[in-house]
Amino acid sequence: MAFLTGFYALLFYFAAVVLVTGLVFKIQQYARTPAPLKIPTTPAPTTRGGVIFRMMREVVLFESLFRGNKWTWIFGWMFHFGLFLVTLRHLRYFIEPVWFPIQLVQPFGIYGGMAMVVGLAGLWVRRFFVDRVRYISAPSDHLILALLILIGCSGLMMKFVFHTDVVAIKTFFLGLYAFDVKPLPSDPLLLLHLLLVAVLMIVFPYSKLLHAPGLFFSPSRNQADNPRERRHIAPWARQLEQE
């Protein structure tokens, strides 16, 4: 029990460090790499505000995916929106006091969890049954879906079948903030849930999950269509002009 608590404490410190440093590294890499040419996919907004609105539609509604493939959109959006609600609901383990909006969202978080698992299942079925999607899938594409489904199912089982001591969990995580390791309940489902979550955090910056920050840096989506009005030039391209 003490060993498990210590192991999980270390695991989460490690996972958090990997997640944060990995993401910070990737984001600053994206931010520092210049985009030498104007390449928004047109028709594109001509102003900064228009670009923000376009980006919001992509992030919230998955607009391009909607135009591209309705089934993937339905399952993909279900999964991500579910994930979003679950995340909000989970905040109660990590903040004290729990903000009022987070209290309100608690029941929806459960539906979110269900939607998330259904969405993931739909996406996974596509990977087997649509020959084009099967062709492009690597083992890692299946594993990440398996990982997320397992996290979701273990969570739902805790909610509906084998209850766990959420107060103790919260104490454990709040304790980690102060480097004060409090005992973690040793229910197998919870340990599985947490182990998989740590794995998710660790693979995040080294996998296709980089699509989340990547979207914001995609030049075909985040550039304004104003090349005739404003001269756009990257530092390395300006150097060519001096030669």
Partner: protein
């Protein structure tokens, strides 16, 4: 028409998504550039000895220079939304022609050499060493992408396979594996001034011939000037406009429009080509060098404005990149955007009521309009997004009585490429070109059956050449493809036309 050595697909009412057929197009590859065509562009003459290391080093350099490449290689989640969007996949069934399949040819190398997961668990994430087999695949399939950007419209992250194809071609050029067609043409532009290698005197002859033809037909002296210093407008147009059908009918149309506008204009023998093949091979340096000719010509001829003729990829480089590559344009008249598209120019005059048309001149045709891929998805016309769709259609409506659009899923930003863009318009890729045209021709055939459409108008030299060549394979006529300004040319009523008088505007052109 040469007999096809491959099976021409049968047109279907709606383009069906084919079942994945691996390696269906693995045999397709364009001729490799010999040393003579590589050297003038600054590339090694043949495959260098340590090509693998050199290629990886080049890839590292490009990853640091192009955010698009870095972000796109990381971000794809293999959602599959792009898999049925490429005309080459739809026409050839080869899964490496699915946009993500094409990207993965580079992504597997990227993962192997540049990511932790690929270094330690290559099998798990589909990473692979850069072997000769992989390089051969690159050469084959990165020359089966017309850089049309249709995939980027539907990808949730806007991943543009064109960017990846360009980077791949740049990497291959850097190790001495170039494509003959593109690199030979860029060499011609440096040496002679245009893609077709037409020297100045030949252009002058052609233009004189055009003046005579137009005079014979209309009785009006419309001028087609070249290298006239002090003209207001520099027209930069694809060299196919100088002689090939139906391109040249478009050029005749531009001249008539300028004539009616009462402006002076000139072509330039130094910049006698609008297309910029530097983009196709992903080479910023070559693209810039080709673009600089236009700046030099504008300065030398002391013009006030620059207008581009009908050409798709050229308009992308002109609209989106010219300011970057050859700007700033502060020495030109600030009242006009630089550059302008000939369609913007004509449309402005139509709106001001300054052009008179006799639409019945086009009554022998029922038209549809092909949105050229790079105009549609990589540029704009006018001041509002989507002007690139509305302005050409407005011109057709002003000049023709019978016009029908093709299926909504195949026009505007969802338009299909003609199948010959991006440096693939060469006879050594005929099979690819014919098969890649299928989705566009399915839609065309559909409006031909249902609406009685007889002709398709386009505003791109590549589209026009490609369709002229490919339509007969599908049992259609090569002259069913027309230039947009050919329609303008047919319908426009020139001032003084018919009464045989010479125009006084003509004299003003003698300023030079």
């Amino acid at each position: 028409m040469a007999k096809a050595t491959f099976e021409v697909p049968a047109l279907t009412q709606y383009t069906e998504i084919p079942a994945v057929t691996p390696d269906a197009m693995a045999h397709s590859a364009p001729f490799v550039a010999k040393a003579d065509f590589q050297k003038p562009l600054g590339f090694p003459g043949g495959l260098v000895d340590d090509w693998q290391t050199t290629a990886i080093a080049k890839m590292r350099e490009l990853l640091g220079r192009y955010r698009s490449l870095q972000v796109y290689l990381d971000s794809c989640v293999k959602c599959g939304a792009c898999t049925d969007k490429c005309h080459y996949y739809l026409g050839t069934k080869d899964p490496k022609n699915m946009p993500v399949g094409r990207q993965d040819l580079m992504r597997k190398v990227y993962r192997r050499y540049f990511t932790l997961a690929g270094r330690f668990f290559p099998k798990l994430v589909g990473a692979e060493d850069f072997t000769k087999e992989v390089l051969d695949d690159w050469y084959s399939y990165y020359h089966q992408c017309s850089q049309c950007r249709r995939c980027s419209v539907f990808c949730p992250y806007g991943i543009d396979t064109a960017e990846i194809s360009m980077a791949a071609r740049e990497i291959m050029d850097s190790i001495g594996v170039g494509q003959k067609y593109c690199n030979e043409i860029i060499g011609k532009v440096y040496k002679i001034g245009n893609n077709l290698g037409l020297p100045g005197p030949a252009l002058e002859d052609t233009l004189e011939g055009l003046e005579e033809d137009v005079y014979d037909e209309t009785g009006v002296k419309v001028r087609y000037p070249i290298d006239e210093e002090g003209a207001e407008i520099l027209l930069v147009t694809p060299s196919a406009d100088f002689f090939a059908e139906p391109h040249v009918d478009g050029l005749i149309g531009y001249g008539k429009v300028f004539h009616e506008a009462g402006v002076t204009w000139t072509l330039s023998s130094h910049a006698s080509e609008a297309a910029n093949f530097g983009m196709f091979i992903g080479s910023y340096a070559n693209m810039r060098r080709v673009a600089q000719r236009i700046r030099e010509a504008a300065i030398q001829l002391k013009v006030k404005r620059i207008v581009f003729g009908e050409c798709g990829h050229a308009w992308r480089v002109a609209y989106s990149f010219l300011n970057t590559l050859a700007g700033p344009w502060d020495f030109l008249d600030p009242r006009y955007p630089v550059p302008q598209h000939i369609c913007e120019f004509t449309f402005d005059l139509i709106q001001q009521g300054r052009l008179t048309f006799d639409k019945s001149e086009n009554d022998d045709k029922v038209l549809t309009y092909h949105d050229s891929c790079n105009v549609a998805r990589a540029s704009r016309m006018g001041d509002t997004p989507g002007g690139q769709f509305e302005i050409p259609r407005a011109i057709i409506r002003a000049t023709c009585n019978h016009f029908y659009d093709m299926d909504e899923d195949t026009i505007r930003d969802r338009t299909f490429c003609c199948g010959g863009g991006g440096g693939l318009l060469t006879d050594d890729l005929m099979e690819l070109r014919v098969k890649g045209a299928k989705p566009r021709l399915d839609a065309l055939n559909n409006v031909m059956q249902e609406k009685g459409v007889t002709h398709m108008a386009a505003i791109c030299a590549i589209c026009k050449s490609q369709f002229t060549k490919v339509l007969p394979y599908y049992g259609m006529e090569m002259d069913q493809i027309v230039s947009l300004h050919q329609l303008v040319s047919n319908a426009i009523v020139l001032t003084g036309q018919g009464d045989g008088d010479l125009e006084d505007e003509d004299e003003t052109d003698e300023a030079a």
